[in-house]
C-alpha cells in the first residue's frame, strides 16, 4: 500500500501518472475514473485502457458518481477487459468493501486508487465554481473516510477535517422530524413520496449493492412485486429495495441523486443504517472481513422486537 501525498491542485497529475504506470506495466487493463464530457461541461465516468489516454482523468468536487457499480457482475463487458483499477473516494470504497465482504469481488481483483477528498457537490448542476456546505450532501458533512480506509495506493494529503461527534445535516434533521410523527403521519409522507415513482429503476441500476442479475421485481412466476407504477406497486418496490439494503447500504446517496422524480431515498436508507447500528452495532463498508448482520446469526442478537 502506497501513499502518494499531493496538494489538492496537484492530485490530478499524480493520478494520471499513476494510471499511466498501472496501464503500461500491465498491472491493470482498465482504469475506471472520472473525466469531462466532450463539451467540458460535466463530469462523467471514463474507462481508460491506453496509457496515453490517462491524461483524460480528472478529480474535483463534481466527481459525484460512485464508480464501484462498474465492478459488479452486471457489467460483463467491463469485466471482460481485465483487471480494473478504480478511482474512488472514501465513500465509494465503502461499497467496494461490501462487495468484497459479500463475495462479489476478491480483494486482489481490483486495484483501488483511493482519493483524499474534501467533499463533493450533491448534484453537478449545483456547482458554481466553489464548494460550499449548502451544496454538499449530508454524507460529506459527517465523513470519516475523507482519507480512504482501504486502498492499494492513496493520493493526496490527509484532510484536516474531523467529523462532528453528533451527525449533522439535512438528512438527519428530516429523519428526526419523521421520527416525531405518528405512524399515520409517516405512512402518509411515504405514500406521497413514493407515489411519484415511475419505476425507471435508476436507483437500483446506479447502486453497486443492487448487483442481482435478476432483481425480485423481475421475478414473475409468481410476480412478487407489481411492476405497475401505481401506489401499491411503488410502495412495494421501494420498501423491498430498502429492506434488501438494510445493514448493507453505505449511504453513498447515488440512488437519491439519480432519482428523476426526487424521492428522498437517503432518508429511508439512513434510517435503516441507524437502526442497524443501534440493533447490531454494525456499520457497513468499513471491514471487508465482517459479514453484514442480516446474514449472520449471533446468540447475542437482540430479541426485543419479539413482543
Amino acid at each position: 500500500m502506497e501513499r502518494l501525498g499531493a496538494a489538492q491542485d496537484n492530485m490530478e497529475n499524480v493520478l494520471r501518472k499513476k494510471a499511466k504506470d498501472l496501464l503500461s506495466s500491465g498491472e491493470v487493463k482498465v482504469v475506471i475514473g472520472y473525466g469531462f464530457n466532450r463539451r467540458g461541461t460535466h463530469i462523467t465516468p471514463v474507462f481508460i485502457t491506453k496509457p496515453e489516454d490517462a491524461d483524460k482523468l480528472v478529480f474535483n468536487p463534481r466527481c459525484v458518481n460512485n464508480l464501484s457499480v462498474y465492478l459488479t457482475r452486471k457489467f460483463k463487458d467491463i469485466r471482460a477487459i481485465g483487471r480494473p483499477a478504480i478511482v474512488a473516494k472514501g465513500c465509494d470504497i465503502k461499497n467496494v468493501v461490501v462487495l468484497i465482504a459479500e463475495a462479489q469481488l476478491k480483494r486482489e481483483d481490483v486495484y483501488i486508487i483511493g482519493m483524499a477528498c474534501s467533499g463533493i457537490v450533491y448534484r453537478q448542476e449545483l456547482w458554481k465554481g466553489e464548494l460550499k456546505p449548502e451544496i454538499m450532501p449530508t454524507k460529506c458533512a459527517n465523513c470519516d473516510v475523507r482519507y480512504p480506509h482501504l486502498y492499494d495506493c492513496v493520493l493526496g494529503d490527509k484532510p484536516a477535517f474531523v467529523p462532528p461527534d453528533k451527525p449533522v445535516g439535512m438528512v438527519f434533521d428530516k429523519i428526526a422530524a419523521l421520527d416525531e410523527m405518528d405512524s399515520a403521519g409517516r405512512w402518509a409522507f411515504w405514500i406521497k413520496e413514493f407515489s411519484r415513482c415511475i419505476k425507471c429503476y435508476a436507483c437500483r441500476q446506479v447502486c453497486s449493492l443492487c448487483y442481482c442479475e435478476r432483481c425480485i421485481t423481475e421475478k414473475n412466476m409468481p410476480q412478487w412485486i407489481e411492476t405497475s407504477a401505481h401506489p401499491r406497486g411503488n410502495l412495494s418496490w421501494n420498501l423491498t429495495r430498502a429492506m434488501h439494503l438494510a445493514g448493507r447500504c453505505t449511504f453513498c446517496g447515488e440512488c437519491e441523486r439519480s432519482c428523476p422524480v426526487n424521492i428522498p431515498l437517503n432518508l429511508v436508507n439512513k434510517k435503516l443504517i441507524q437502526v442497524t447500528e443501534e440493533s447490531f452495532g454494525f456499520r457497513s463498508g468499513y471491514d471487508e472481513k465482517a459479514h453484514p448482520p442480516m446474514i449472520v446469526f449471533s446468540p447475542d442478537d437482540k430479541e426485543n422486537f419479539i413482543k
Binding site: F75, K76, I198, C200, Q223, P260, N262
Partner: protein, 337 residues
C-alpha cells in the same frame, strides 16, 4: 382573428375557463423541488421561469400505467370487460416546440397496424400550447435535429413571450377552435415578442450521415458501440423522460379469480426487455440495448414512419445518472469514416 394577446394576469382566467368546461389544464408546476408537467388549478401553480419541464407531457396521453381490461373467473364462465378510454379534454400549456414535435411520432406508432384508442382518443382531445423558448441550457439540441425554438410541428397554439403576456398564434383547426372557445380571455394586440433562444447547432453532427451509417450492416458490430455505451447503467430514466419513447408492457395483476390487465411503460434499456421465454436474449448486453435505442431514434423511426425519433429536447442527457450524452454518440456516428 389576428394579433391575439393573452395578458399574464389573464392566464388564471384561461385556466378557469378550461376547467369550467370540464377540461384539465396541464402546465409546468413545481413538485418535489423541480418543474414538472402537472395539473394546474390556478395560474399561481404555473412556473414561468423554466427551461423545460423535467418530465415529458406524454404521460397525460400515454399514462405510466392504465387498466385496459378486467377479468373475473366465475363458476362456468369468464367475464371479460374491456375498458372504454374516457379521454378528458386536456390542454397542455408551456410545452416547448421540440417536444411538441414528438406527438406525430407517438401517433405514428399507436396507429401503425392497429389503432390504439387509449392514445388516439386522448390525443384527439388534447390541445398543445407551446411557449417558444427564450432560454435553454447546454443539453438543448433542437437545432441539431432540424427543429428550432419556434418550430410548429405538433403545436396547436403557439405562444410567444412578450412584456406582460404572450402573443398567441393558433396554428391548427384545434388551436383555432380553442382560441375561439375561450375568446373572452384574449385581447387584440400585437406586442413585441422577446428574442428566442437558439441552441448552437452541434457542428460535427449530420443526421443524414448518421442514418446512412446505421443503414450499413458493418456498423452493427462496430467495436465503437461497446465503448460508447460502456458507462450506461441500464436504467430507464432516459426512455421514461423521452417525449418520443413509447414502449409498453402488458401485464396482468390480481388473484387467480379476478384481476385487471394493465398497459405499463417499459424501456428497451432494461435487461429483461427482450428476454425470450426460451432464455435467449438477443440484446444480452447493455451496449446492444443502447445501440437499439439510438437506432430506433435515427433509423427505424425515420425509415418506418418518416418522423423524428429524437426531437433534441435533451431530457435524456440531463436525467442520465452517468451523463451519457446522446449528442456525443451522434457526433461519433457522423464523424467516423
Amino acid at each position: 382573428m389576428a394579433d391575439i394577446f393573452l395578458k399574464t394576469e389573464y392566464l388564471d382566467r384561461l385556466i378557469g375557463s378550461v376547467r369550467q368546461a370540464g377540461g384539465r389544464f396541464i402546465a409546468p408546476c413545481t413538485d418535489a423541488r423541480q418543474t414538472v408537467f402537472k395539473e394546474a388549478h390556478a395560474a399561481k401553480d404555473v412556473v414561468a421561469d423554466y427551461i423545460l419541464a423535467h418530465n415529458s407531457y406524454k404521460e397525460f396521453l400515454f399514462p405510466q400505467t392504465e387498466v385496459i381490461s378486467t377479468h373475473k373467473v366465475k363458476k362456468d364462465s369468464v367475464e371479460l370487460k374491456g375498458i372504454e378510454c374516457a379521454a378528458q379534454g386536456t390542454v397542455i400549456f408551456g410545452a416547448r416546440p421540440c417536444e411538441a414535435a414528438s406527438l406525430s411520432a407517438l401517433r405514428a406508432v399507436f396507429t401503425w397496424d392497429s389503432i390504439d384508442e387509449f392514445y388516439t382518443k386522448r390525443e384527439d382531445n388534447t390541445v398543445v400550447i407551446a411557449v417558444a423558448c427564450t432560454r435553454g441550457d447546454d443539453a438543448c439540441f433542437c437545432t441539431t435535429v432540424g427543429l428550432s425554438p419556434d418550430s410548429t410541428a405538433g403545436v396547436d397554439v403557439m405562444f410567444k413571450e412578450a412584456e406582460h403576456g404572450w402573443a398567441v398564434m393558433p396554428l391548427t383547426g384545434k388551436g383555432r377552435a380553442f382560441v375561439e372557445k375561450h375568446k373572452d380571455v384574449f385581447e387584440k394586440a400585437a406586442p413585441a415578442v422577446k428574442p428566442l433562444f437558439y441552441p448552437e447547432k452541434i457542428k460535427g453532427v449530420d443526421i443524414e450521415k448518421i442514418k446512412e451509417r446505421l443503414s450499413k450492416k458493418e456498423h452493427y458490430e462496430d467495436p465503437v458501440w461497446p465503448e460508447l455505451a460502456r458507462k450506461c447503467i441500464g436504467c430507464g430514466a432516459c426512455t421514461f423522460t423521452c417525449p418520443t419513447c413509447h414502449c409498453f408492457d402488458i401485464i396482468d395483476e390480481g388473484t387467480a379469480y379476478e384481476g385487471e390487465r394493465r398497459k405499463n411503460w417499459d424501456a428497451c434499456q432494461f435487461d429483461h426487455f427482450t428476454l425470450h421465454a426460451s432464455g435467449h436474449n438477443p440484446r444480452d448486453t447493455q451496449y446492444k440495448r443502447w445501440r437499439n435505442r439510438f437506432m430506433c431514434k435515427f433509423k427505424f423511426y425515420p425509415d418506418k414512419f418518416s418522423s423524428k425519433g429524437c426531437v433534441g429536447c435533451g431530457r435524456c442527457i440531463r436525467v442520465c445518472p452517468v451523463r451519457l450524452d446522446i449528442t456525443e454518440v451522434m457526433e461519433e456516428m457522423s464523424l467516423r469514416p
